[in-house]
């Protein structure tokens, strides 16, 4: 009989108090804001502070008038800028995820298979960049990719090229930036999953006549499915709404929805439109977030 991991003797009030504080905090500062975003996405832009008209108003007859305005959403769908940015963001995030997987999986695999002492050092080396500011690391790529940057200088001095390559402010730079920044987010969940694997399964498979790459394909890969999904979600979902990297590396033509939202909000002061963009983005991302949660739940259930 499995022992339930719960302290049933804790007492109702004690239990309630413990979770009440974080619960209320998150409700107020995480959930309520989304409701407000939703509300504002339905309102009109106003040349005032704050730059939107009220949604619920007392009219002269002391009745409540609720003005729901779908203009903003209509605007989003008619102006191709937003839909293009959205589609482009998803495309960029998807490809970046695949590239992170291609680079990150062998690394996670190698770390999980190494001796404990090597493993700790390698893990430290993976975690270290993660703790260093993202902004600074993306900045590093500016120095590497620009016309008189490190890469161009090295290639020219080696005689491999004669004209500097245009790498900065291109989609290429953006992909490099995203993959670079999110790589640790792919490696860590993958590693966490692979570390728990029973390597004797592979030995048993080979003992029964399986070749190494077959054993990998038939055993390791399926068993690491949860890690792959978790890492992919941790990269894909935030990458869709990524702002800093397109802003610094992508150049003015990089059409990413996070940047559009920022510009709409700060430059154009079009808060209702920005809110509508945010809601749209959320609607697209929420299924992925729920998928991520279910993968995590499955992983922890399997661990018990």
């Amino acid at each position: 009989m499995k022992r339930t991991q719960s302290l049933q003797r804790f007492g109702i009030t004690g239990r309630g108090l413990v979770v009440a504080l974080p619960y209320v905090w998150l409700l107020l500062f995480f959930v309520v804001p989304f409701v407000i975003v939703l509300k504002i996405s339905f309102s009109d832009i106003d040349l005032a502070i704050p730059p939107y008209k009220a949604l619920i108003e007392w009219t002269a007859k002391n009745a409540l008038a609720i003005k729901i305005n779908f203009n903003n959403y209509a605007f989003l769908f008619t102006d191709s800028l937003y839909l293009n940015a959205l589609v482009n963001s998803i495309k960029v995030a998807f490809i970046s995820t695949l590239m992170c997987l291609a680079i990150g999986y062998p690394m996670a695999y190698g770390i999980a298979r190494s001796t404990p002492s090597t493993r700790n050092m390698l893990l430290l080396l993976v975690i270290l960049p993660f703790w260093t500011s993202l902004l600074l690391r993306v900045y590093a790529w500016i120095g590497l990719l620009k016309a008189n940057g490190v890469i161009n200088n090295v290639l020219i001095s080696l005689g491999l090229i004669h004209e500097p390559l245009t790498m900065l402010y291109t989609p290429f730079a953006m992909y490099v930036g995203i993959v670079y920044s999110y790589l640790p987010f792919m490696i860590l969940p993958l590693y966490a999953n692979l570390e728990k694997m029973d390597w004797q399964l592979l030995e048993a498979a080979e003992d029964l006549g399986c070749r190494p790459y077959q054993a990998f394909y038939k055993i390791t890969l399926p068993l690491s499915r949860n890690g792959i999904l978790a890492g992919s979600m941790l990269v894909f979902i935030p990458a869709v709404g990524e702002f800093v990297i397109p802003a610094l590396l992508g150049g003015p033509n990089a059409l990413m929805i996070g940047r559009v939202l920022w510009d709409e909000f700060f430059s154009n002061r079009a808060w209702p439109v920005a809110s509508a963009v945010a809601i749209l983005l959320l609607i697209i991302l929420v299924p992925f977030m729920m998928w991520y949660q279910s993968v995590q739940a499955r992983e922890s259930a399997g661990a018990r």
């Binding site: 998150l26 900045y139 959320l282």
Partner: protein
């Protein structure tokens, strides 16, 4: 276990780490470059520490760093309290009303794009100011609240996973010997999971210290954080002072990580091995 050396894997690892570290190392190297162009090495005057002096006297950057520090410390401390409570609740109480919601609310910030979180927080503060008059304008308070909201999600994950591998028999034994649940938490559980809580604090601190997007949305006049200042400089191109900042950051982070991991290795030997 058979540690078979696969050349393919080793090559991948080598390239992967080179990919991760070459940019960082290049920043460090060029922080000693005298040339204002940063990436064009001025061999006549380099290596030099002149940009280090320049940075450490840069008022704008120093003020911003001070603000970042204040926000990060308060944020980390608050996030640790909220995150530990949430993590403990989720790990130990298998059933309570609102468990699903709490779980969703503590995992969503981990993946949600920051522009959405930042935007929503700003709109909340504006609406609150309209309705109840607080917060009066945006500044350190609103920034700290914003940071705490997403930091606590990370702390929750750290604490929750630590408690999952914690032998509950230790808590039961303490209760069996006469300690009430609250006492058990402070005398038994907390000391044992302390390294995890500390790493949660450091994680929250770092997230706040490096945060750009949410800070930009929730800050007000006169409350620019270090990342915000860096961003405005960096939008215009490379700057040697930023290289210096990067080098200092990397050095500090490396030292802290090494120190913390050494301590955690010592602490993990304390717990029983089944």
């Amino acid at each position: 276990m058979n540690y078979r050396r696969s050349y393919f894997i080793i090559t991948c690892i080598a390239f992967g780490f080179a990919f991760l570290y070459i940019p960082i190392l290049s920043m460090v190297v060029f922080s000693f470059n005298a040339s204002k162009l940063v990436t064009v090495w001025d061999s006549a005057n380099s290596p030099t520490l002149k940009w280090y002096y320049s940075l450490l006297h840069n008022e704008e950057i120093l003020d911003a760093a001070w603000i970042s520090l204040k926000v990060a410390v308060i944020n980390a401390s608050g996030a640790v309290i909220l995150g530990t409570l949430a993590g403990f609740g989720l790990a130990r109480f298998t059933q309570f009303r609102g468990r699903f919601t709490l779980n969703a609310m503590t995992t969503a910030p981990l993946v949600m794009p920051e522009v959405i979180t930042g935007l929503s927080l700003l709109l909340l503060f504006v609406a609150m100011e309209q309705v109840i008059g607080w917060p009066a304008g945006r500044g350190l308070t609103t920034m700290t609240i914003g940071h705490m909201t997403f930091s606590m999600a990370y702390v929750t994950v750290v604490v929750q996973s630590r408690l999952a591998s914690f032998d509950i028999a230790l808590e039961e034994a303490a209760m069996d010997l006469g300690a009430r649940p609250v006492k058990v938490f402070f005398v038994i559980t907390l000391p044992i999971i302390f390294p995890a809580i500390l790493s949660g604090w450091l994680l929250a601190f770092t997230l706040s210290w490096d945060d750009l997007v949410i800070s930009s949305f929730t800050s007000g006049p006169g409350s620019s954080t270090l990342p915000m200042v860096v961003f405005s400089k960096v939008r215009l191109g490379v700057s040697p002072e930023i290289n210096v900042l990067a080098t200092i950051t990397i050095t500090v982070v490396t030292l802290m990580i090494v120190a913390v991991s050494l301590w955690m290795a010592r602490a993990s030997r304390l717990e029983q091995v089944q």
